[in-house]
Symmetry: C2
Subunit: 231 residues, 2 copies
């Protein structure tokens, strides 16, 4: 719209609109997998990294859609933000936008497992132990890797050990173009942090190790690498 | 401190300092029970009701300590806020302050179960289902009911069905002085809502049904009922 165009005209030099004309799909945050109306499984993702990527991509001129799990972050400026809760909902929102996207950045920490049985009423506790059966959720990144045509597909690997090894395996196994790896147990690289320490692996074998940076700055570096790679 | 006293002098008429000289212990928010460094079990509590109670108790002249699970709320004015994560940490912080408290209001949604085995590294997913064994956490409210001497002990019952029946059973079983019950499946009474619809049951058999109110207003009503009950 007009406001966006005027803002961009005054805020960015034309040379910085690296992603002008590109449709970028970003996922962010955790998912929640319900056990009953009150209880759920989740993870420590706060969405900060993904929101920074979505915001920065919009500043670089891209048309950005952000599919977000439950976070406390406001929708970034000039980004269409769609809020979902479960891995299944994330899958549905991503898959219907995949074919028209140029760049897809899957920074969300999607649950790998969900309860096999979901209770409609709050479960009453009982004495003694409880066994919860979990089943695998759809592997969204793998599905995208299989369906990929011209999209540039970026994954994340948040690990606590053997970070590079796991990241490279994931890049291959899921047919990604790039993977951004970080050790979430490292100080300054964790989920709720405003900083991150990442290594970027590309399909062509190139590796970029970044120092501790703000998540905003990491987002800029990731998007610059993508812009270079897609030419 | 001086600032607090001056603020209270100008903000409240003396007759409204209903809880002057009382030590009030409030718990709020969910707990998180770790599966590994990344994944956890939790629940939908946002802490809004408990934070409103803590804030209002301080406005009514009480000396307030708030033990809070992970929330996105700032510490209320003039309240000592202690942040914890698990049910076990909540128990430890509450129990050491219990004997010196006059009023204890347990609004936190403490997890009833936690994983029996916690992994030090992020679990790698595998094909197929997964079984998670859970064990009971300490029942904090029950422990307080058993240790109670002069404290006025208030519990909450967040249910999705048979709300009154479950609330009255809990009041008896846990030796409470008051229980505040709400149906979290009801519109306007849920966890993330700024409003609530509660019924207050007291040990003496009296029942106060409140209409849909802001959580701030519900907090005022609960604290007025407590002030009356303790004379």
């Amino acid at each position: 719209n007009i406001v966006t165009l005027i803002e961009q005209y005054f805020s960015s030099s034309p040379s910085s609109l690296l992603l002008k004309g590109k449709k970028v799909l970003v996922t962010a945050g955790p998912t929640r997998e319900k056990i009953d109306p009150v209880r759920f499984f989740s993870n420590r993702s706060t969405g900060k990294m993904g929101y920074a990527i979505a915001e920065t991509a919009a500043e670089l001129g891209a048309e950005v859609t952000l599919i977000s799990g439950p976070t406390n972050l406001p929708s970034p400026r000039n980004v269409e933000t769609i809020r979902i809760e479960s891995a299944q909902e994330m899958y549905e929102e991503v898959i219907k936008r995949f074919s028209s996207a140029h760049i897809v950045i899957k920074s969300a920490a999607v649950a790998d497992y969900r309860p096999k049985y979901v209770f409609n009423e709050k479960m009453k506790k009982k004495p003694g132990d409880l066994v919860v059966e979990l089943e695998r959720t759809i592997d969204i990144l793998k599905a995208l890797g299989e369906q990929k045509t011209e999209q540039f597909l970026v994954g994340f690997a948040a690990e606590t050990e053997q970070v590079e090894e796991y990241a490279l395996q994931k890049l291959q196994r899921k047919n990604l173009d790039m993977i951004v790896a970080n050790n979430v147990a490292q100080k300054g690289a964790g989920f709720a942090s405003d900083t991150n320490i990442v290594t970027i692996f590309k399909r062509d074998g190139s590796i970029t190790k970044l120092p501790l940076l703000t998540k905003k700055k990491v987002a800029e570096e990731i998007l610059k690498e993508i812009a270079e790679a897609i030419g």
